[in-house]
Symmetry: C2
Subunit: 69 residues, 2 copies
């Protein structure tokens, strides 16, 4: 298992957290997504390393932006 951490901006409430969790959680191989609303930190657990572009696309689909590392 691999754990990766990202930062997402624009989330303002629990609904936003749910949207990001649902989209990122739907990426193949992802087994867990933890979102910290206050910091925008998104911790993703997956079977193998994730492509950042794939994560960015999922976050974008939810309506938010992945902050560049």
């Amino acid at each position: 298992m691999v754990t990766s951490t990202y930062h997402v901006k624009g989330m303002t409430c629990g609904h936003c957290v749910n949207s990001v969790s649902a989209e990122v959680g739907a990426i193949p191989g992802v087994s867990d997504v933890q979102v910290d609303l206050a910091t925008g930190q998104v911790t993703v657990t997956s079977e193998s390393p994730l492509d950042t572009g794939t994560v960015r696309a999922a976050v974008d689909e939810a309506g938010y932006d992945l902050v560049e590392a």
Copy 2:
């Protein structure tokens, strides 16, 4: 038709607007709900005057608070 205006606090994003709109829109007799996220103003169109307690309960169900007039 009657148009009533309320103020709701705690809405931070479009998801919040959707939640409030859905709950208030489900009150019997309500035909339209317009929510202004920036001001928290909720304008409700209904067949007859609404009981404020009913509106408050719907807003509460959505997870927000009706501001006392």
